[in-house]
Symmetry: C2
Subunit: 432 residues, 2 copies
């Protein structure tokens, strides 16, 4: 598509999105169920298209990790269909009354959930992200303009076609959905702030950062995931190694993997030695402060660092000794990215302090930071994790794709009657 | 203060804000009550300081409207104190559990409200805005850096000193609060995105726009208030003139005043004549589309316009005839600012369509757009009105000054146990 057409496309999608807001939940759920069936019916075609993408990718000698993400198989498609069916069955996120208040007799105020509008999504490699994100947007009544990785072009195209067919069959206007095919098209979309309400980038930190820098539209996501584990003096030693190892090695590239371990000085000597041994055994490289280094045998060869705001994303972890919980909190607030932090300890008061004074989306006690995920939180699915201070924050599921409007229903009320002397008084009575 | 000190000031305030998050509601409420008493005790001093500001302003031949806003008197100060006492009595907005879910036995997830952090507020002329905003921030556990209008310098200083005295007496750290005195200091604060979580500008659209353009920090507010009234064919004629007149003339400079009237063509001839007469009688100037003009007697001298995205802010209103409710909705979505729109009509289905398909913070049936206000909504007070699509939206009271964190409490759980074969299954049971 010529890039000068993108603003038109976005305008049309935005207009159609406004209509989408009025579709009832049963119709949206029907379209989703239909979408899953459409994928089922086209399974063979999808796998053939995916095979083509795989071969092209191989010809460009793409990394094994990328190939794994790119590859679709029967089992991945089954998960996709199960996921869509689950989203279809979720309660309607739209039209929920969050506040109902009588301002005066015959003057009633409601705050009601509604779709955000039109959402631009860019995602890398994984074609199974497309049906997941599209389903969440459809269920929440949002229009969506998608841009997948060019390496998954054929897979994405057919997965998108299935969506369009399902909507057409169900009578949902398809102008609210579009699939872009080039980066330059998406760059143009980032300028269409009149029509696009939210951008969701799913991919590397570099992708998120470059998008944040190039648009005035609100971007949902996180550019960093510098997660911490603080081991308090009250820690149950049996819990330490399993949690730290899970948080570091279960999926080191994930944004919720741990990057820095802070150890209370009162337990430092033995804890440093024990924990670092356990990590070394699992090939985790250790960077540390000077003091930690003094506790480690020379053969450890741990590198001294002071680059505490580093997301390693691999089998590397930073270790630092802190004087007390105060220093741990200050360190995290200073060097963290607002993602997820864990305290290992049995002192509940210390944890309350840790929870209250740290400014991050997730604050854990005795659990791996890797739990920070929409599926694990029971949201069914997630569009991403937000490290913003404001809503939506943390793992963002379908609830993060809705906003609200105020509805005021009167029968001719005017403000003049409520000012000056003999003014009418507001009642402000909540309706239940 | 030298501008190179501002980042330090913000850092210090941010650190103190983290502590503020842990103060219990009774202490914050006590500090607020103390604040009101401190203002009471210093009433004379405040009025003397305000008199100085008034005299300086007069010497600079400032407009009457500005002088009115600048002037404090016994009655305004009484309202300020009543307002603070009301905020003190409001339920604690912090620590509310919005979600409680058992992910697995012994692994519990909570979503809990918490302060946003450090808020920068810039406001113009009205010194009574200072105690109102500061009280909302204190009650919600947020630190605040204020910058008032230079014309209110003496009044602001003493109102701020009263806050500091009240906090000191109550034992609340005062590093979380600061008052800036120059524009260049505030410009510097806009760069401190590491420490400042939210900027709230209270003032003209120009102020809001210039701040939005010069910071990466989230700005809460609205740059425009282009509100509409659509008169449906089902309108009860007796309701039309009172609502339109109230929405236009009760306070024309307000952002929730109406700027454009859309009239359904089936009732246009008489409605246009009747309504425009009523407006003219109240000295409201009319701008209109060509078709409306044809219905108006020549002595009306209405100017033809097509600048539909105009916030007049004075006794001027635009009038346009629309074919149907569809055209009204499209017009509002295209030219509106997402603030507040009203439909006058008795057809409930038409209103549902109007409500659902328009993307604005407030959608009203048969009530003046001037109701869009935190006090009228029963929020006690407001820090501003947000025309953002996302939270917080519309009039923003104390609830808009809180965000949330996820708390996960476990006893050693790791993610590895929940993946692969023989994986543990999540329970995802909501706790009530």
């Amino acid at each position: 598509m010529p890039v000068d057409q993108i603003a038109n496309l976005a305008q049309k999608a935005k207009l159609a999105s406004n209509k989408l807001a009025s579709f009832k939940d049963d119709l949206k759920s029907k379209a989703l169920t239909e979408y899953a069936r459409e994928i089922e019916r086209n399974k063979e075609k999808i796998l053939v298209a995916n095979q083509k993408d795989i071969e092209n990718a191989k010809a460009q000698s793409i990394s094994k990790a990328l190939l794994d993400r790119l590859k679709l198989d029967e089992s991945k498609l089954n998960s996709v269909m199960t996921g869509i069916d689950q989203i279809a069955k979720m309660p309607d996120p739209i039209g929920k009354i969050e506040l109902a208040r009588e301002l005066d007799h015959g003057l009633e105020l409601f705050r009601i959930t509604c779709p955000i509008g039109l959402i631009g999504v860019v995602f890398e490699s994984r074609p199974d992200a497309l049906p997941q994100i599209a389903s969440l947007c459809l269920k929440s009544g949002n229009g969506i303009i998608l841009k997948g990785g060019s390496e998954a072009e054929h897979s994405n195209k057919i997965l998108f076609d299935c969506l369009i067919k399902a909507c057409t069959k169900t009578g949902i206007p398809t102008d609210a959905f579009a699939l872009l095919s080039s980066r330059s098209e998406f760059s143009e979309l980032l300028k269409a702030e009149q029509y696009v309400d939210l951008i969701i980038p799913r991919g590397s930190n570099e992708l998120v950062r470059s998008i944040q820098a190039s648009t005035n539209i609100k971007v949902l996501g996180h550019a960093d995931g510098v997660c911490h584990i603080y081991i308090d003096s009250s820690a149950d030693w049996d819990k330490v190694a399993p949690i730290v190892i899970d948080a570091k090695i279960q999926y080191p590239a994930a944004c919720n993997a741990v990057e820095t371990i802070l150890i209370h000085e009162s337990i430092a000597p033995q804890m440093v030695i024990g924990l670092c041994h356990a990590l070394k055994l699992r090939n985790v490289e250790i960077k540390c402060d000077k003091r930690t280094k003094t506790f480690l045998p020379t053969e450890f060869d741990a590198q001294i660092t002071d680059a505490w705001h580093t997301e390693y994303g691999d089998l590397t972890v930073a270790v630092k000794i802190v004087k007390d919980i105060e220093e741990a909190i200050e360190h995290i607030n200073k060097f963290g990215s607002g993602h997820t932090e864990c305290m290992i300890g049995e002192d509940k008061d210390a944890f309350e302090k840790f929870f209250t004074e740290i400014n991050s989306a997730g604050i854990y006690l005795n659990a791996s930071t890797r739990f920070a995920d929409g599926y694990r939180y029971g949201f069914g699915a997630e569009v991403g994790i937000s490290t913003s201070n404001m809503h939506p924050r943390g793992p963002v599921g379908i609830e993060g794709l809705v906003t609200y409007k105020y509805k005021l229903v009167g029968n001719g009320q005017i403000v003049s009657d409520y000012v000056g002397k003999d003014a009418r008084k507001f009642i402000h009575r909540d309706l239940h």
